[in-house]
């Protein structure tokens, strides 16, 4: 609450509406995907403590796609409880994503 500048706020509102519409009007996202993306949006722009998750997601998107690993990361993200990122189980999920990205990097470098 509070400290967003007006550009960030416009972006936040527009992206939230877009995600909502992609689920409700177009049906491109299922409910789980919508909740997951909304939570990531809140983490990114509301200044919440993301426990390094957003950095990992940036790294993921910057990498070359690997369908198999991407599917596992997506499944991990969908199963995450974003309201309790500090809990042990969620911390394990973040570590899993971290390990997967490292593995993907190793595969590319081979």
């Amino acid at each position: 609450m509070g400290s967003m500048d007006s550009n960030s706020k416009k972006l936040y509102d527009a992206v939230a509406t877009l995600i909502l519409n992609l689920h409700m009007q177009k049906g491109d996202l299922n409910e789980e995907e919508m909740y997951c993306l909304l939570s990531i949006l809140d983490l990114t722009l509301m200044g919440k403590n993301d426990r390094g998750l957003i950095g990992l997601l940036r790294e993921w998107k910057a990498n070359e796609p690997n369908p198999e690993i991407d599917d596992i990361i997506k499944a991990t993200l969908l199963s995450m409880d974003f309201a309790n990122l500090e809990s042990d189980s969620q911390q394990k999920n973040i570590e899993t994503i971290h390990d997967l990205l490292r593995y993907n990097k190793e595969l590319r470098e081979r």
């Binding site: 509070g2 706020k9 509102d13 939230a16 509406t17 909502l20 939570s39 949006l41």
Partner: protein, 453 residues
């Protein structure tokens, strides 16, 4: 109530409703203010009423009501599901306003709501006039007058008690007291149970029957004569022993200072030794147990060096909504920032005390204000403060001479060195002096027991 009515456009202000909701999504202050003043029924648009209810409920559950949280909450509950609803919600979220304007927009929403109620009242009265042929004129006019009077009352809590209401209330009060008296005689064998929160002192409990919701309590003491110790003793009795929720506002001490104080209070080890760390391992474990009790208690601390009366209102409302506090202690009012530098000290104190009394009544909590006594034991603006308070207490040391000469003081198990003087007690006896023992080294206040007649 107003559904299906063809309302005039000037009785509806959707823009103000959106602005209130939008600011609630962006500012905690706005949430506190709106939750306190408005009800869902104050919004004309049913969608707006729903958004208000959802936002308030998120806030009360301590979830920051962002746009995203609101969407999630609404979706989970199967609300706001149509395209129109989503468009409306997006429009609301985009109308960011500066916090400082929130009161203005809330007032506009509330004014329109009251006008609509007035319009409804006129329609209903007109309908009664047209439909009922055999009319009891007195009854019609009296009912109308009562409804109108309730409409003109400014606060949500305001209402006019008609004679039946008052008579019913009076009888219920007497009946409750009668049953309690019977209960005391049969079950408690003459020991009167408390009506409110425990004071932490046996004799003060007996005289006051506890601190009651809506009460303003003023505790005066000279500098260095136990104001904070009294406050923390009260907090101990209420939040730790009684497990009620209490908010403690301190204008002087830092977080570590307050936390350290509890160390000696809860372990019974001298404060100086706790502060310097000069303790052994068994004492450390004693202190650990004390802090475990604190951790499970209802004690909420808010150190705030630049406290103003306005700030106390918003903090108290926030904690009432989120933690359901039963009591707030302000330690102490003399350190509060002046809003208007032209005002005299006593005028500022009077303003503060009035605000706190209103706050206690509106939120139905106990508010205790700590004030500083002059070196001669008097209080600046004392008469006005006394008028506003329900209970006025003064804490002062008993002099060495009195300890030596007063035979009464020698009849206690421990020689009392302090006394609580009940200067005013709206619900009972006043002018009573209660001797206590103040253990300065442990910063603990204790009851003293009479051992001989």
């Amino acid at each position: 109530m107003l559904e299906g009515m063809d309302l005039k456009p000037h009785l509806i202000d959707l823009e103000s409703e959106r602005r209130v909701l939008s600011s609630m999504l962006h500012s905690e202050e706005a949430c506190i203010e709106a939750c306190n003043v408005l009800l869902p029924g104050d919004f004309y648009s049913p969608q707006h009423a729903t958004v208000f209810e959802l936002t308030s409920s998120l806030y009360e559950r301590e979830i920051t009501p962002t746009y995203v949280e609101l969407i999630k909450q609404a979706h989970e509950l199967g609300m706001l599901t149509s395209t129109r609803d989503i468009e409306d919600l997006g429009y609301i979220a985009e109308h960011y306003i500066y916090d400082g304007n929130i009161k203005f927009w809330i007032q506009k929403v509330r004014d329109k709501s009251r006008l609509r109620k007035f319009e409804y009242f006129l329609r209903k009265s007109y309908q009664i006039l047209n439909e009922e042929t055999d009319q009891d004129v007195e009854q019609i006019l009296m009912t109308a007058e009562e409804e109108l009077t309730n409409l003109t009352a400014l606060e949500i809590d305001d209402r006019v008690d008609n004679p039946e209401d008052l008579a019913k209330l009076g009888y219920e009060e007497v009946e409750r007291r009668f049953l309690r008296y019977k209960d005391i005689k049969e079950r408690y064998k003459g020991v009167i149970p408390l009506d409110g929160l425990p004071t932490g002192f046996y004799n003060l409990n007996k005289v006051t029957l506890g601190y009651k919701p809506g009460d303003l309590i003023i505790l005066g003491a000279q500098t260095g004569h136990g104001k904070t110790s009294f406050a923390l003793h009260t907090a101990n009795a209420i939040a730790i022993q009684n497990k009620s929720n209490l908010l403690y506002l301190n204008t002087e001490m830092s977080r570590p200072q307050i936390a350290l104080r509890w160390g000696s209070i809860l372990s019974g080890i001298e404060h100086e030794r706790v502060r310097s760390g000069e303790i052994n391992e068994s004492e450390l474990s004693q202190i650990f147990n004390g802090y475990s009790d604190l951790g499970r208690s209802g004690f909420y601390s808010y150190p705030c060096p630049n406290l103003t009366p306005e700030k106390t209102i918003s903090i108290a409302r926030k904690f009432k909504a989120q933690k359901n506090i039963d009591m707030m202690i302000i330690d102490y009012v003399g350190r509060m920032d002046k809003q208007d530098p032209r005002l005299q000290e006593w005028q500022v104190l009077e303003q503060i005390v009035k605000t706190q009394k209103m706050l206690a009544q509106n939120l139905q909590i106990v508010v205790m204000c700590l004030v500083q006594l002059n070196p001669d034991g008097t209080l600046q603006g004392a008469k006005r403060m006394k008028n506003e308070s329900d209970l006025m207490l003064k804490l002062s040391p008993i002099s060495k001479e009195e300890q030596d000469e007063n035979e009464e003081l020698k009849k206690f198990d421990i020689m009392p060195n302090y006394a609580i003087f009940i200067d005013k007690n709206r619900d009972g006896q006043s002018g009573i002096r209660i001797p206590i023992y103040f253990d300065l080294q442990r910063q603990i206040l204790k009851d003293v027991k009479r051992v001989s007649v």
